[in-house]
């Protein structure tokens, strides 16, 4: 392609739009189901389907451990996986800022291709719009996914039961910390990469080992703490966390220490919170530790009857203290 940047003409629907689609998107997303028509025509799966949609607006769009393209696939695939659904099809809609480098767009599409392949999902439909300079920040992507729910699996944030063990599939807060550092607002340097990863194969391995799983949630925006509060509210149960058992990388701890932030509220993009009967917990953790993105899986607490709707931490001195409820914008606390 001759143009080095995306122009308004690429979004006008004419020759240049087709060129952009052919040379960038089709080149990466090509598969037998990807349609040139108005809608993809697909065979209906046997069982129930799960469907989910998510918009991605990360700044910066490229960060250690991934980019907005990889994120846009992982986010939707992981949402499906949490319902026990094998991801089948994705659609993706791009809103691109006029002047966005073509080379970067290629890189984003490349990451999407690779991640979709790893997750075993096909991109079957897409849309491209170009917005004037300043109307969007680089590129925004929205993906929608459809998956087939595995037979005999039923998970929901409503199903946590007192006595369930709470498992997290790895160290927390890495994505949020990575983005914070990538924005370079605080002059902090640390070797932290995003945990962004497609987790269907991980969930599949767990469900192959046991179907007796009550809740699977991916801890994205708001982090593990927010997810735990959501589940406590939905299931009307209490949650008891053991502070010492929550895995946090030392670098993430260091960054949080400098800025007065709580790692439990930093975003993840490749971490699941799983709640299952205690009898299944050890087995699940063992399976998780064999999977590439959950080597540091750990049991971090349990579901209780006490204090429904709340998350209580067992602190380093063995006392019980409420985890503060998630607030608005994460603001560093210094003075």
């Amino acid at each position: 392609m001759n143009n080095k940047t995306v122009t308004m003409a690429h979004g006008a629907g004419g020759k240049q739009t087709s060129e952009l689609i052919d040379e960038v998107f089709k080149a990466h997303f090509s598969n037998p189901d990807l349609t040139a028509d108005d809608a993809a025509v697909l065979p209906a799966p046997k069982g129930k389907i799960a469907m989910s949609t998510d918009g991605f607006i990360v700044s910066p769009a490229f960060f250690p451990g991934g980019n907005i393209g990889k994120l846009s696939i992982c986010g939707t695939v992981n949402d499906l996986a949490c319902m026990g659904a094998k991801p089948l099809y994705l659609s993706c809609a791009f809103v691109i800022e006029e002047g966005f480098p073509m080379e970067k767009l290629e890189e984003i599409a490349g990451a999407m291709e690779k991640t979709a392949k790893e997750a075993g999902v096909r991109i079957v439909s897409g849309d491209t719009k170009v917005a004037g300079k300043g109307q969007v920040d680089g590129v925004f992507i929205t993906t929608t996914g459809v998956g087939e729910i595995l037979d005999g699996v039923s998970t929901s944030g409503d199903y946590a039961k007192p006595g369930d063990a709470i498992i997290v599939t790895g160290d927390i807060g890495r994505h949020g910390c990575t983005i914070l550092l990538a924005r370079e607002d605080f002059g902090i340097d640390a070797d932290v990469t995003s945990d962004c990863a497609p987790l269907w194969p991980t969930v599949e391995s767990v469900l192959n080992a046991t179907k007796d799983v009550h809740v699977i949630r991916d801890a994205t925006r708001g982090g593990v703490g927010t997810v735990l509060y959501e589940i406590a509210g939905q299931s009307k149960v209490g949650i008891r966390l053991n502070a010492a058992d929550v895995p946090v990388a030392p670098e993430v701890k260091g960054v949080c220490g400098m800025l007065g932030l709580e790692p439990l509220y930093l975003a993840c993009e490749g971490r699941l919170v799983i709640m299952a009967p205690k009898s299944e917990a050890e087995k699940i953790v063992e399976v998780l530790r064999q999977c590439p993105y959950s080597k540091d899986a750990a049991i971090i607490g349990e579901v209780t009857e006490e204090q429904p709707g709340h998350v209580v931490m067992t602190t380093e001195i063995g006392t019980q203290a409420l985890l503060p409820q998630p607030g608005g914008e994460l603001l560093p606390r210094i003075c």
Binding site: M258, T315, I317, Q320, A321, L322, P324, P332, R333, C335
Partner: protein, 347 residues
């Protein structure tokens, strides 16, 4: 060995059977950590912890936020601030509100970073919101000194720095024992606190880890039972008797005392700091001719009484109803260190 000692401090606290005692944690980070660690749950009934005025955000007067909003919206200045201040309500709006209206508000980790930002953006006028006590003031002075060395004309401070001695005097009698703010003492040393013993004021300098806090509380209880006014530095890892001479000199060279308003405590003579005449080119009030702002706070809010230990957050009518961390009315609910926020979030 170390584990054994922690138990000992804890056992002293849990087993305290002396007379009723009111301990005021002056410092907001102490309030926050005591809640986070669940230390209140260890205290026998007759030990009462009161949260004091040592959260700079909480004692910053409403008019200061109004001044910052004025600078941002009327003067087009880029505001650099600690994250703590962004959501504090002003008379009309907070800095977050000003940001929605297009104000440039940048969150920084250090005043020195704000100076660097000004250096990198000569086309912008940059003002750093200098709040904080003795611990934080030297950082703002360093930033001004650096701006002078760099020859910057686009950097200034909106100063609301405060010093603790005046507050101690104002708080005399509101508690039996003060937990002194360890990081303030790291700068000032402990001589003032020692001399307060002669006036009958007891206190313990406390650190911030679980062990340091438990130790400080245990020391406070043991000494209190002896019945005489006392002072103990229970944070010797960081705090020395003389403090940081360099920091004291830096601040004395660049700033002078002035009267200042504390939210809740009113005007305390000589408890504020402002830049000396030779540094007034870096004083945002003078540079931008900021008009005097008499901030108005919500009359229902009892932050003032809370800060003096006169009432508990839950005694305030709007606590948890109109006033929550998501929609704060008073500063004590905004800052994570604020007594109201801590009560709301942890109980």
């Amino acid at each position: 060995m170390s584990e054994e000692k922690k138990k000992t401090a804890r056992e002293i606290i849990e087993g305290y059977d002396g007379p009723p005692v009111r301990i005021m944690e002056v410092c907001g980070t102490h309030t926050h950590e005591i809640f986070r660690l669940g230390i209140r749950k260890l205290l026998p009934k007759q030990v009462e912890l009161i949260s004091g005025p040592g959260c700079p955000v909480c004692v910053t007067q409403v008019g200061f936020i109004d001044e910052a909003v004025y600078l941002a919206l009327e003067c087009g200045v880029t505001i650099c601030t600690f994250g703590d201040l962004v959501r504090v309500p002003g008379t009309e709006m907070s800095l977050a509100g000003a940001r929605e209206k297009g104000a440039k508000v940048r969150i920084v980790y250090s005043p020195v970073d704000a100076e660097q930002y000004a250096k990198d953006h000569p086309e912008e006028q940059v003002v750093f919101l200098a709040v904080g006590f003795e611990t934080t003031t030297p950082a703002s002075c360093l930033a001004v000194r650096k701006a002078s060395e760099d020859g910057l004309t686009n950097f200034a401070l909106l100063v609301a720095n405060k010093t603790m001695p005046g507050a101690y005097a104002a708080l005399k009698g509101s508690a039996d024992v003060f937990l002194y703010p360890g990081h303030v003492n790291a700068i000032t040393g402990t001589e003032l606190c020692e001399s307060l013993v002669d006036e009958g004021v007891s206190g313990v300098v406390a650190g911030f880890t679980a062990k340091e806090l438990l130790t400080a509380l245990a020391v406070a209880l043991v000494k209190f039972q002896e019945g005489k006014p006392f002072f103990v530095n229970a944070y010797p890892r960081v705090v020395t008797r003389e403090g940081s001479r360099e920091a004291q000199k830096l601040v004395a060279d660049m700033m002078e005392n002035c009267d200042t308003e504390w939210r809740g405590l009113g005007i305390i003579p000589n408890s504020g700091l402002c830049l000396k005449k030779e540094w007034e080119a870096y004083d945002a009030r003078k540079k931008f001719h900021v008009p005097e702002m008499k901030g108005r706070s919500n009359p229902a809010c009892r932050c003032g009484d809370v800060l003096q230990g006169k009432c508990k957050p839950s005694d305030c009518k709007v606590f948890g109803k109109g006033c929550t961390p998501q929609h704060p009315i008073g500063a004590c609910m905004v800052s994570n260190e604020g007594a109201c926020s801590a009560y709301y979030q942890y109980s």
